[in-house]
Amino acid sequence: MIIAERKPLEEIKSMLSGYKKILLVGCRTCVTICWAGGEKEVGILSSQLKLASSGEGNELSILEATVERQCEKEMVIEELRDKVQEVEAILSMGCGVGVQTIAEIFEEKPVFPALNTTFIGMPEAEGVWVEKCGTCGDCMLYWTGGICPVVRCAKGLLNGPCGGTRKGGKCEIDPEKDCAWVLIYRRLEKQGRLDLMRKYYEPKNYRAVKRPGRVEAATA
């Protein structure tokens, strides 16, 4: 799922300077699960902003709302249609996609991101999320025993570990991190598919992936 992290308050306050009435929008899917933009975080950020504004003497009134999924046009329209009229700007606590969906629908009102969308990942422990996929568009997990070197190797090497792997299979750059290619070797060894290590992988043609990506279902 998409993992995001809240921006520091200074940055958010600078975006909102000059606006008296804003709409603060949370999202109930990915950012709720990673504790960044759910209904609870909306309440916390709203309290913080009110405290900050009353501290500096300018009043700021905040309308709060939470959309089922900010990346679905119908859901955004249904939830925010009336509230948008009463505000001057919208502060979205959704991921980057959510911010842009709201911006597309309500073009007349400026929309600001309250979160930094960081990566696609999974929970490692309670409250800790870790990146697993870099969405490179050309998945090579077949050859690497289900461990993606593009993301989990600090240098993104495609062909075997770099020379600097530390003792105990740790990464040269970050001693706490496991070297992805050591993990790949061990897993392939366990599955008896070590011959895949011999495959030479040409450098990825990142230009081939047209940005922004677009997928069209056959039956669309």
């Binding site: 520091p8 309440g43 916390i44 913080q48 009110k50």
Partner: protein
């Protein structure tokens, strides 16, 4: 609700801190009367949002009072509360309210003196802040 108010909101766990407040009262140990005690089933029930809302509504200080570490009836209630108070403190620093205005206190049901000392400490901190 203007800023001069000096209310201290104390979220008190009913297994320890709330009974300590009762004991302090029964021993007629007097403490500043700007404290408002809210009874909660466990310190772990208090969320960052409650702390921030208390400040938003004009509280000058917040105390989250739970059991001693290792003696929580719900095992992790007070340790979680400690983490949340730390997070709330950072959020408040971002907003310009610092100087230890939110604090986690660990009490056992018989520590009336410690309860009084913590409340007086918070009240003095607020008085000091107020005069500046």
């Amino acid at each position: 609700m203007n800023r001069e108010d000096n209310k201290i909101v104390a979220f008190c766990c009913e297994h320890s801190a709330y009974q300590v407040a009762d004991k302090a009262g029964r021993m007629r140990l007097h403490y500043p009367d700007n404290v408002r005690i809210i009874r909660v089933p466990c310190a772990g029930r208090v969320d960052v949002q409650h702390i921030l809302k208390a400040f938003e509504k004009g509280a000058a200080g917040v105390l989250v009072m739970g059991c001693q570490e290792g003696a929580c009836q719900h095992l992790t209630g007070n340790t979680r509360a400690k983490k949340r108070v730390k997070y709330a403190e950072d959020l408040l620093k971002e907003v310009g309210i610092d100087g230890g205005r939110v604090k986690m206190v660990n009490l056992a049901p018989d520590m009336a003196q410690r309860f009084i000392r913590e409340v007086k400490e918070m009240a003095e901190k607020i008085e000091g802040e107020m005069r500046r």
